[in-house]
Assembly symmetry: C2
Homo-oligomer: 461 residues x 2
């Protein structure tokens, strides 16, 4: 994107190695935060602290904001008390809340002491809202005006107070009780004469969020409504703060990462893959692997019940992986579709019956296709090999019917399980695809051997 980024980076590193602090400071403050972020990737915490102590305030805030949590924490700890306080006081309220949210409470108190009284109060208020609620995402830095003000008064007010606000793309109109009356885009003020009043620009038409709404709700509202900021109001309509689209873009990324990790059968990582410690990485992965392993142990138990049948017809064992994995794959597909559709608000729990109908048809179609393929595979093969014995047609029927049954069952349970989880108040993504697959594996064996008993009894069994 920028042509000479590499050159800039190596120059900065050279200054650092040579201890040429003057030149380093001068050049650091010429570049933008992405370059500094790249530089920080390659240096240790002590060197990071040096870099931050040389940065201009504004640039330091901007850069700090995009560091991951562990780096932020290490950095705040290794900076002198006073510089840490400047950094913490300077970053915007919502970013600070996000930072504090992840701290253990002992460390939280330690860091809160670094804030000015005013900033501390704001942060504590925001921390009062439940985790992953809109309240934790909002910033109280916005511009509110009264409806009897003139456009000139508004613009003067913006000029005086706007520098610190998160966004001045939208101006909020509140009454004397603080109740939100309207939101007006700043551009509207540029298109009219200064004598007009705010009232004349109002259409009393606005969207607002509640501080106890789930953050996921706010993401979907932003996605569907083309806004750069949305106001947050309490149940009386009193305006509490705003949520801005840049935070929502980052939140959406985090939520999608969380869902993807859960779908992959692990707990969501909160830090980048490369930064997370090996211990944490294992903690997030081994838990679900063990749960799935214990679930999958039931397959050995289930197969144990059919040990006699297997010893009579070893050929049955050959198709076990094929059958259970087909059930697992169709279950994963259905679960993935429904989990994503729930996450982006395309379907709701109340749609369960329409989804069920759709997935029954899907299961029947997909099951028929795979069942037919499995049936044909054995019938065709049996012309070339004697592996299936004289009863190859019966065995083909068992495999074909089992595949159809298992795929139908996988598709239905894969689509319904996320809805049940959501209904019970859990995150539907937790019924990760591998989890559904494991459930279907165990039940799939029972379906398979039941068909075998039904069709092969009296011949090979």
């Amino acid at each position: 994107m920028r042509k000479s980024k590499k050159t800039i980076l190596s120059e900065l590193k050279l200054h650092m190695e040579e201890g040429n602090i003057g030149l380093l400071q001068q050049n650091l403050n010429k570049v933008q935060s992405p370059v500094i972020l790249d530089l920080l990737k390659d240096i240790n915490t002590e060197e990071k602290a040096t870099v931050f102590s040389l940065l201009d305030k504004e640039l330091a805030y901007k850069t700090f904001k995009f560091l991951d949590y562990s780096t932020q924490k290490d950095l705040i700890k290794s900076l002198p008390y006073k510089q840490a306080a400047i950094l913490l006081n300077g970053i915007s309220t919502d970013d600070r809340t996000a930072f504090f949210e992840e701290l253990p409470s002992a460390a939280l108190n330690e860091f809160l002491r670094l804030l000015s009284t005013e900033e501390r109060n704001i942060t504590l208020t925001l921390l009062g809202y439940p985790e992953s609620s809109v309240g934790r995402l909002m910033t109280p830095d916005y511009i509110a005006v009264k409806e009897d003000w003139t456009v000139k008064q508004v613009l003067d007010f913006v000029r005086e107070n706007g520098k610190d606000t998160e966004t001045i793309n939208v101006i909020y109109v509140v009454d004397e009780k603080g109740i939100l009356l309207d939101d007006i885009r700043i551009r509207a003020f540029l298109f009219v004469t200064p004598e007009k009043t705010v009232k004349e620009l109002m259409d009393h038409n606005f969207l607002s969020l509640s501080p106890i709404d789930d953050q996921e709700v706010s993401v979907n509202i932003f996605r569907n409504n083309n806004r750069v900021a949305l106001p947050v109001c309490d149940s009386f309509g009193v305006m509490l703060g705003i949520v801005t689209i840049d935070d929502v873009l980052r939140l959406a990324k985090e939520e999608d990462t969380e869902d993807i990790h859960k779908l992959g059968g692990l707990e969501a990582l909160e830090e980048p893959y490369m930064n997370v410690s090996f211990f944490t990485l294992m903690k997030k992965r081994v838990g679900w692997l063990i749960v799935l392993f214990l679930g999958e142990m039931l397959t050995a138990t289930a197969m144990g019940f059919f040990e006699d049948e297997i010893s009579k017809a070893v050929v049955l064992a050959l198709f076990v992986p094929l059958i259970i994995s087909s059930g697992g794959n169709s279950g994963s597909q259905a679960a993935t579709l429904i989990i994503r559709a729930l996450a982006i608000g395309e379907v709701r729990i109340s749609d369960w019956f329409r989804i069920l109908k759709r997935e029954i048809f899907s299961g029947v179609f997909l099951g028929f296709v795979l069942g037919l393929l499995g049936f044909l595979r054995i019938v065709v093969w049996s012309n070339f090999t004697n592996i299936y014995g004289e009863h190859s047609f019966r065995i083909a029927s068992v495999v074909g019917l089992s595949l159809t049954g298992v795929v139908i069952w996988g598709t239905i349970s894969g689509s319904m399980f996320p809805l049940l989880l959501k209904k019970a108040g859990f995150d539907p993504a937790t019924s990760s695809a591998p989890f559904v697959a494991t459930m279907v594996d165990v039940t799939g064996l029972v379906i398979y051997f039941s068909f075998a008993l039904l069709i092969l009894r009296g011949t090979v069994l």
Copy 2:
């Protein structure tokens, strides 16, 4: 969120049923596009066309923009020629490009004829950029000024020309050749006296995109840089257009949905789950299921090689599902982690060796845990049952070692395969978790029976 949405909706439906067009029109234009979108969900195409013919221009554009592709197409087709032209001419250029992009070329030409000459030219230019490139995402509606203009001149220019532009939060400074010199936030103009010149506000510090950049690149740049819009420049630095954050938010959602669907083992749906036709839904699902099925057929072939061993020791068959699914689960985990990390730019192909090292350690740790669990399960169980015969300790060793081997192999191949795919120019998400799981299933069987031959030869085998 809005209290009386339900009431509003049922009122609108009542007016429609009663054919009270006057009242319907009046009430429709009082609400916001989300309410209309909800209304459109429950009515047929003909009724949708009625609603659109009653909407004010601005509201119609806003609402149209959020409809999915098939509804947009149906609507444009069922509206009278002239109204369709108004709708197509009115929606912003980037949305129109997104709409046309999905049309077959015959239909494209039909629709292009509905545009004014000027709008048609703009759209054709945008369609010239490769699919999923930044060029397709940009809009040429932005405000550009010269560096010798005064602040007053800029504000007057905005007042005259700003109404149609996508965003006036950022003003772009270009020279007489159209080369981008700087971007300045509109708020900066509000904080200074009208006599200052643009030059005095410039810091010559800006980020820009190339029209041939991949759209995914632009998503990550927005995520990391707190911008509401970014300029797009050609290789000479000439400004071509801007990309706005609202489009990026929607794009990020689409890309994540695509990745999630691929990870779930199906082709990405381009429409909402509930809207997509049954035929399309099956087309997107059956393909991968068949591919995975054909892959999984190799398990039957692999097990066929060991049929003699299975008939000698049926107990071996009991653990086949447990062992191959453990390999599959660990492979899915690793693949999911790396695919997501690649998508959000946390890791690059060049990091492959660091990833490999990490995943070898992970595989060894996870494999050891699961192997130990499997080993202990059999040893403990054999005290209560005779199912494993006199050689239960040997069988426990085979299962334990196989689990360890399979998990290590699954972890390594799951993490490396996405990198290989990306290196070869494919989308890494295509090596969906089930695909890796299938690969590992087949090889897992070979690992299992190899350990069995090694340890059990001379006893049960």
